[in-house]
Every structure is written in C-alpha cells, then in structure tokens.
C-alpha cells in the first residue's frame, strides 16, 4: 500500500484542505471586546503548566585551517546519516547571457558523475542501497548532499567526496539538463498562480535583476561544458563551503573523516556579495490576460527589508497582525468576512542579505477582481491609519513566542538554522536574540514601523486573470492606466510553429 501519492502535481488536484500553502506561519487575532464581558470561558480555566525544561543540542562547529566550516549534529534515533555541503555563489552571480546556468549545473553535476563512476552507474549503486547523493543550485548557492543508512556511510560519503572534487561533466547529460530546462520554460505560462508570483517578483526587483531574470531557451541552449567546469572550479574553494552533517555517527570519527576529505582543499578568495540596486517597483496597475481561468491572482507588491534591520522584530509582529494566519486582519477581512478568496496571504518580507518583498496576495473569482483588490489595498492602508490594539499586540506576540519552540524542536532543525546563520555570516545567537527582540516590541514600535515602512504610493498592483470577465474595469481602482505585461516566451520561430503557436499566451 502506498500512502504517499507519488505525483505532487496530481495530488494538488484531489486533496482539499482548509488552508492554502500560502499561509506559512500561523498567527493570532484580536479577541473582540465582547468576550471580555463574559465570565471566563471553559478553555481559559484549563491549566497550562510550565513547559518542561528543554536545552536543544547545539551542533559542534569546527573551522579547518583553510576556512572550511563543519557543523556536526549527532542524532542516534534512526540509523541514518545525512550531510549537506553548501557552497557560496548561485544564480544571482552568473552573467546575464548565462541565465539558467545554475539550474543546468545543479542537474548535470550529479547526472554526469565522476571518472570512477558515471552518473548512471552512481544511480545503480546508490539506489540499491536506498541512498542518495544529490546536487542542486539556488539563487545564492549550490549544494551537494548525501543521505544513507549508517552502515553505508563510508561508501556513500566516498562517492559524495569523489563527486565534489572530481566531477566529469558529460555532454549528453548537459543536453538532457538543457532539454529539461526548455520543457520548464515552454510551460511557464500554463499555471496562472505561478505566472503571478513570477511577474510580481519582477515588478519589485526589475525584469533584468539577477534575482528575477528568467532563463530563456537561447541562454539555456548556449551553456557549454566549459561553463560548467569553470563554475565548478571557481566556487569549489574551502572558505566558500559549509559542511553540515547530522545523524547516527560518532563525532570524533566523523570529524576525522571530514578533515581527511577536506583539509587539502585550497582556501580560495572570499566570495563577493553581488552589487545590486533595489529600486522597488514603478507604482501602477499591471495586468496579464489569461483566457483559460475563472479566477484572478492579485499581488500587491513593494520592496521589503533585510533581516539584520533593527526594526525586524517590530516588523515581524506587524506581519503577524496583518497577515500571519487565520486570525490576521487580512484573512479575517478578505476571506472570512467578505468570502472573496480561499488563498490569501502577505508579509513584509525580510531576506538575509538583500531586501525581501512586501507582498499582499489573494485569488478571487474573475467578477470580484476589483472588489478584492480594493479590499486588499484598504487593509494595507489601514496599517497606517487603523491603530493597533493592545489585544492585537498581545495575540501576535503570544503566537510568535508560544510557537517559538518549533524553530528548534528537532536536532535537524537546529542544524539547519545554524547552517543558515553561518552561510550568511549572522551571529549564532540570532534566534535567542530574536525571541528577546519580539518580547520587547511595544505598541509604539509597531505603530512606528508601520508608518515608516508602509507606503501605499510605492506599490505595484498585478492582476493575472481573465480580463473579459472582470465586469468592473481595472481602471476603477483609480490607480491610473493599466499596463499590460508581455509574458510571451521568446522562442525560435521553427519551434513555435512545431508547437502549434504555443507560448505566446
């Protein structure tokens, strides 16, 4: 019997749930004053004893002479060992003409294999042990990970190190990765919600920004084996890597084998942070017309902030009140009160080393597009005009603080946190400080940051939907003319013809 449906895409279509995936972190609502007049409710009489003492096990940090950082987190509950090597440098660091390189690199690295075993042989060897060695690429990093039963660690780790240090990029696997990438490119306009998400990010960062530019068929097909090898050589330096291992191992033995594997790597130069400008969106209304949907995806976006901003804590509390979950202002209004959307969410986003995105998003039936957009804009506006109440503040802080333990309730989560902080050069006690920071937030703080950071005049409104069915024109939003966004997929003419003219929608 198989409980895990193997095809995530199909699973989407036949499991229905109360909350969409968009509502990530939960939140709390203002208990209406009416409640205060009542005698204590039943749940208020239930005892909440102090939480059992808990001291999460911190990973051991080892820095090799060449600058490579190792984080070890032993955990003997199950007979597995999992390791990840994070390497600085990712999609935002490649030249524009090579957009898509990191995705191809992440695929072809593992499928190509090494001189000892080509990728297909690795598949056979690893899968027979139910083990994994995988590579991947991200916006600011690439990675190599392994996972295996304890008894297979020597062999699997050996493969991982061989692949890390001696990959042999293979023409055929490069072509396979290119083909897969092109398949993704020609399909990228099929799903309205992902079109909306993508275009919204482009409105904020810019179409050509290293964070949001799109791989095109031409850039992907132009990638060569030389490009892959050059990237590998450039990034594979010790001071550029963090090795995190968790699971069923003896720390001394593990340290020894990691040292043996990595101590001789060259240190390399420190990876430079890209010099990117973040101007934020050009305010206005933007539209993508999609004829095969009956629901509009609405995104209202602006520039967010960085996580090391001293106002991060107050902004986090504001986020909870605004859009943190079932009880947030946005959810209460747009979904519960108006019944205009199933999927609704938002946040004043904060990234580790560049400004995040401030977004408010919802999807609603075509005919209520303008109404829903207006309701969302009103909620944003009210961040500045509708005073935050002590009850809202208390609820939001309760929510953040009482669920705080879920940041570190497993050894794997603690390791993942530590790795992330190490990667971005944040202090190791960031999480502890975060807790104290949230506790210290006052009503005045939230009022202040809302006034300081929320500026409705700097936001772009994007609507991806079926224009013919809006009923009320988008000009009724009173935000000026509507700018159509062209999402045509650049494609060789012969290819477009072969595909029956696809890709222009």
């Amino acid at each position: 019997m198989n409980w895990k449906r193997s095809t995530a895409l199909l699973a989407l279509a036949f499991t229905f749930c109360v909350g969409p995936a968009i509502a990530q972190e939960a939140t709390v609502v203002i208990p209406p004053d009416a409640k205060k007049l009542q005698p204590p409710a039943k749940w208020e009489k239930i005892p909440v004893p102090p939480l059992h003492a808990f001291h999460p096990q911190q990973p051991t940090r080892i820095e090799l002479k060449n600058g490579l950082v190792i984080l070890l987190q032993p955990d003997h509950e199950l007979p597995f060992i999992n390791g990840t090597i994070n390497i600085r440098g990712g999609a935002r660091d490649v030249p524009e003409a090579k957009t898509g390189l990191i995705g191809i690199y992440g695929d072809a690295w593992r499928t190509s294999g090494t001189a000892k075993h080509n990728g297909d042989q690795l598949d056979d060897i690893l899968e027979a042990m139910a083990a994994k060695v995988e590579t991947g690429g991200d916006i600011d990093s690439t990675s190599l990970s392994w996972s295996c039963l304890t008894k297979d660690e020597n062999q699997v780790f050996g493969i991982a190190v061989d692949l890390l240090e001696h990959p042999v990029f293979n023409e055929q696997k490069l072509r396979l990765a290119q083909q897969q990438a092109v398949a993704g490119i020609v399909r990228r306009n099929d799903d309205a919600s992902s079109v909306a998400q993508r275009v919204a990010a482009q409105l904020v960062y810019g179409k050509d920004s290293p964070y949001t530019r799109l791989p095109q068929i031409s850039t992907v097909m132009g990638i060569t084996l030389d490009d892959l090898n050059a990237w590998h050589t450039k990034t594979l330096t010790a001071s550029n890597m963090i090795v995190s291992v968790s699971g069923d191992f003896d720390p001394a033995t593990m340290e020894k084998s990691l040292r043996a594997a990595f101590e001789d790597l060259p240190r390399g130069a420190a990876w430079p942070k890209p010099d990117t400008e973040f101007a934020g969106p050009t305010p206005g209304v933007y539209a993508v017309d999609k004829s095969d949907v009956n629901q509009s995806n609405i995104w209202i976006v602006g520039l967010g902030t960085e996580r090391n901003n001293p106002d991060y804590y107050a902004l986090s509390v504001m986020n909870e009140i605004f859009s943190g979950g079932f009880g947030s202002r946005l959810f209460q209004d747009v979904r519960t009160k108006l019944g205009l959307a199933y999927s609704v969410g938002g946040a004043y986003g904060a990234s580790f080393d560049h400004p995040g995105v401030f977004y408010t998003a919802a999807s609603t039936k075509s005919v209520s597009t303008v109404d829903a957009t207006k309701a969302m804009l009103a909620e944003i506006h009210e961040l500045k005009t509708k005073p935050f109440t002590p009850a809202e503040l208390a609820s939001a802080k309760d929510q953040v603080l009482n669920s705080f333990i879920f940041h570190y309730d497993s050894k794997d989560k603690v390791l993942a946190q530590a790795t992330q902080l190490e990667f971005y050069g944040y202090p190791a006690d960031f999480l502890a400080k975060y807790r104290a920071g949230i506790e210290a937030v006052t009503l005045a703080d939230v009022e202040r940051v809302a006034k300081k950071y929320i500026d409705p005049s700097k936001l772009a409104v994007l609507i991806v939907g079926n224009e013919a069915h809006y009923g009320t024109p988008l000009t009724a939003l009173d935000l000026g003319p509507v700018h159509p966004v062209d999402i045509t997929i650049p494609m060789p003419a012969a290819m477009r013809q072969r595909m029956g003219g696809a890709g222009s929608e």
Binding site: M1, N2, V18, V28, K151, T336, Y342, T472
Partner: protein, 533 residues
C-alpha cells in the same frame, strides 16, 4: 563472454544486496520493538480509538485525527460535502466563536429557514419568480446578518494559534478527512478540549460565506489549473458508478447549493467516535490517557456508518477524453485495480517503484533519458484513493515539440515489456531495500508518525501493520509482477486523457469591458472506444 560495465555494476550490486536485505529487515524489527514500548492504543467505551506514542525529544506534540469519511461518502447531489464540513470544523463550537450561543442558535435556525425558502424558489423548474427570488435572498441576507452579530470570527483557530499551534490545517481526500497541528506539550489538555469539542459540537456558523471560500478553492485547484481540469475530466470518464468519479471539492452546481442542514446530517452520520482515530505523538505519556479519555470519551456514541454498497463495475471498453486547451500537452492514463486490502497490493507498489522511483526507474530511463521525449513520466498506484477499487495510473509531461500520443506509445511499450519479460533481480531487490529505508526515514518527525499510526490503525486495525507490511513486500516475486501486469494492463480496462495545445480564443471584449457571458468551460469530449478491445 563480454560483460558490459553496467552489467558488472548490476551484478555487483546484486551480491551486496542479498547481504544487506537481511540487515535491513533487522533494522525494521528493531524499530518495531522500540515502538511496541512507546505506543499505547485504547478504544474508548464510545468507540473512538486513541493512540499515544512517546517521543520525548522536545516538549512538543503533534496529533492527527482521522475521520473515516471523505468526499466519496458525499450523498448524491451533494458532492463536496465532506470537504465543506472540514472547513466548518474550524468555525467554532457552542462555547467557542460565539458571544451568546443560545441566541445564536435561534438566529442560525432562522438563517436555515430563510435559505431553505430561497433555495426552494431557486430550484423551481416552472414558475420561478425573479422578484420573489430577490426578496427571499434579501430575507436570507438579513437573517445572516442577525446571526453574525453573535460571531467571534476565527476564535477557534485564534485560541489554538495564540497557544503555539503550528502547521494547523486539515485535508479532505476522497477516502477520509484528517485534522492536524503541533503544539507545546504543556497545552496537551487544552488541545484535548478543543479537538473533542469541535468533533462533538461543531456549529455551522457563517456557513454560506465559507461556501464562497470553498468555491474559490475549486476555481483555484480545478477550473484555473490545466492539470486540475484534466484530472477532473479523466476521473469522470474512468468511473461510471463509484463516487471516485466525482471531484472531491464537488461539482460547481452541487457545491454551490450545499446547505448547513446537509452538513449537519453528514456530521451526525459520519463524525461518530466509532469512525474516528486520534493519534498523539511527542512529549506525552500513557499517564495522560485518563485526561484524554475524559475529553474524547465524552463525545456521544453513534452507530458506525454502514459500508458503501457501490462497487465500480468492470470496464468493458477503452475510454478517452481529449481536451483542447491553451496550455502545453499532458498525458494521463489509468487502469482499474482492487483496493488496498488486495493480497496483490504490494505487487502494485513494486510496479510503481520499478516504473517510477528515481533515475534508475524504467520510465525515467526510457522516456526521459534515452528517448528524450518527456520532461517527466511516472506510474503510480492508488489513484484517486486507496480505500475503494482504484487505478494504477501513468502520467507523462511531454518535452517541447513532443505529443501525448508519443507518451502513450512509449508507456505502452514499457508495459508490454513488463507483461512479457521478468523484472531483474536487481530491480526487485532495489524495491524491497528502498521500501524498508523509506519506512524508517518516515519515523523522524512527530507529525508524520502521528499520521501513519492513525492511518494504519484505521485501515488495518493495527498500527503494527506500518512495519509488518514489509513481510508482504518481501514476498513479492517476479511472477507476481508479470501476473498482475497481464491482469490489469489491458486496453479494455484503460481510460486516458490527453491535453492538446490549442491557441486561446481571444474574446472581442478587451480590458475592463464587461462580458455578458460566463467563462466558457474547457472544451472536452468523451469518446468511448468501442473497437479497442
């Protein structure tokens, strides 16, 4: 004899695996022994099954409540009801979410009466009066407004979240409905109160607004999603009698007419303790059982719902649905097969693994890697559910310039191979090794363990089947795979769906101009293939 490098690797892998397979089995037995000590099961006098699993790593717990009723249990004409009820279970109880339940109860009865009057007029086939309809709708809205004055919106979730609940959600499948979240363990009693109260005393407040929210969910997952549209048409074509042929979220017309009264009836019939399994995993102890029993034992007992009578009749001819859409092509085909209790259940798992699991799988190696015609291709068991006879399905995403027909031909070639040639020893062993490892990997977090223990306890009457299923997996032979493949992978047992690209029709109305017509449904055609047998 010349031996290719690949064959040598395979041979080597094979020898290693015979040794490993025993070791793997021991690991699973060891884990089962640990769970024997940590798991306590109690069937309460009212029939509810309670499972506790101690996992004291951190002072937190996760739970899963599984109600053995899903959208396959929706009454005729009320598709989407189980899912609609699931949304209702977050709207509070007689004590939560209201400022005055006694008054609210009266007001809600008036809402229902007003809606019923409106609904009766709306459904009139002859003599429906638009004026009267308008008037009745206005009366309904007035009644709704009167009831709303007592509502504390989202108070139920607010209490949970303010007390640290994370991952709070629920899911309704065709087979069952699951509720879940995680919380700090000093809130165990609070959780027991909240969960038992919403099972026993849900109040259908703000029902008709929530129905609008669920309509949006339908638009998002089905109407506005190319894959959603395809799956809906595919299942409606594949099933002629069994409710697996209906969309879980409900047909638009039926969903839009579900009433709170219908939801109440559904609750009374299916949300009885004998039909519910609750698993709690984490910082909990058998000593907590008495407290939990106090709350869950108070849910009023009721008769276990009678099992469904409908069984999908054998399919006699190939069926298909061809959808012309302004999206890239897709291909999906399925073959009817028995439910999860079939003695061959593990054989289907083996076929799924060999066809679809990772880069060594046959469909990946053939369609994706060697022929380069597909971006992905998978075969999987248990679609769209497992509780009732379901399908073994194949799904393929063609590469740019390749067609659904090519997917179909290539998949059929692989199926033919499975029917005529034994799978290799290495493939069969790989399946068994991975099944063991996947089982163990799934034991790493409270929420996952809670869901699995509850599911296996419910489906097999014993959570140990989570571990013992490996015996059935180990027993699968090459002959079993060929036998099963020959049994079900036949054209007359097949339904397929193709999505083919067609340029969008541009309506005359441009930005902003209202259109008099509702959005056209996706074009689809259902064609029985009489001659395909």
């Amino acid at each position: 004899m010349k031996i290719s490098p690949a064959a040598r690797v395979a041979a080597l892998v094979c020898c290693v695996m015979v040794a490993l397979s025993c070791a793997g089995q021991n690991l699973v037995q060891k884990e089962l022994a640990k769970f024997e000590k940590r798991v306590t099961v109690k069937v309460l006098p009212n029939g509810l099954t309670l499972i506790i699993c101690e996992r004291p790593e951190a002072p937190v717990f996760s739970y899963a409540t599984i109600v053995d009723a899903g959208d396959a249990n929706d009454p005729g004409g009320e598709s989407g009801l189980a899912h609609m009820f699931e949304h209702l279970a977050f709207k509070g109880t007689k004590d939560i979410g209201t400022t005055n339940y006694a008054a609210e109860k009266v007001a809600l009865a008036k809402v229902e009466a007003a809606y019923d009057a409106y609904d009766t007029e709306y459904r009139k086939r002859v003599g429906r009066s638009p004026e009267k309809l308008k008037e009745l709708h206005a009366k309904f809205e007035t009644a709704e407004k009167a009831a709303n004055q007592y509502v504390i919106p989202n108070e139920f979730t607010e209490i949970a979240e303010a007390n640290g609940a994370t991952g709070l959600n629920a899911e309704t499948s065709l087979d069952d409905t699951e509720y879940f979240w995680s919380m700090p363990s000093n809130r165990l009693q609070l959780w027991a109160y909240l969960e038992s109260d919403r099972i026993a005393n849900p109040v259908p407040r703000q029902f008709y607004r929530e129905r609008n929210v669920v309509m949006e969910e339908r638009r998002m997952r089905i109407d506005s999603s190319p894959i959603g549209r395809m799956v809906e048409q595919f299942l409606a074509t594949a099933y002629v009698a069994h409710p697996y042929g209906r969309p879980g979220v409900g047909w638009e017309s039926e969903l839009s007419q579900i009433t709170a009264t219908e939801a109440k009836v559904f609750h009374k019939k299916y949300y009885v303790p004998a039909n519910i399994t609750v698993a709690v995993v984490g910082d909990v102890k058998p000593a907590d059982l008495a407290m939990l029993e106090k709350y869950f034992g108070a849910i009023p007992a009721g008769p276990k719902p009678e099992p469904m009578t409908t069984v999908e009749p054998p399919q006699t001819a190939e069926k298909s649905v061809i959808i012309k859409d302004p999206t890239q092509p897709l291909y999906l085909e399925g073959y009817h097969k028995p439910d999860y209790r079939s003695p061959d259940d593990a054989v289907y798992d083996a076929i799924q693994d060999i066809f679809s699991n990772g880069r060594t799988s046959r469909l990946y190696r053939s369609l994706v890697e060697k022929q380069g015609i597909a971006a992905m291709a998978e075969g999987f068991s248990g679609f769209p559910g497992i509780k009732f006879p379901n399908m073994f399905a194949f799904f393929a995403v063609p590469n740019a310039g390749h067609t659904p027909q090519e997917m179909r031909d290539a998949i059929h070639k692989e199926i033919e191979k499975l029917k005529t040639t034994d799978v290799t020893d290495a493939e069969l062993e790989m399946f068994k090794t991975r099944a063991r490892a996947d089982l163990l990997r799934g034991l790493a977090d409270n929420q996952g363990i809670a869901e699995q223990l509850a599911t296996y306890q419910l489906r097999y009457g014993d959570w140990r089947e989570l571990f013992n299923q490996l015996n059935r997996i180990d027993a699968v032979t090459k002959a079993d795979i060929r036998r099963v493949a020959n049994q079900i992978f036949v054209p007359s047992n097949r339904t397929y769906a193709m999505v083919e690209y067609q340029a969008p029709e541009r309506p005359a109305a441009r930005s902003g101009e209202p259109s008099p017509h509702p959005a056209p449904p996706p074009k689809s055609a259902v064609q029985p293939h009489g001659g395909a047998r």
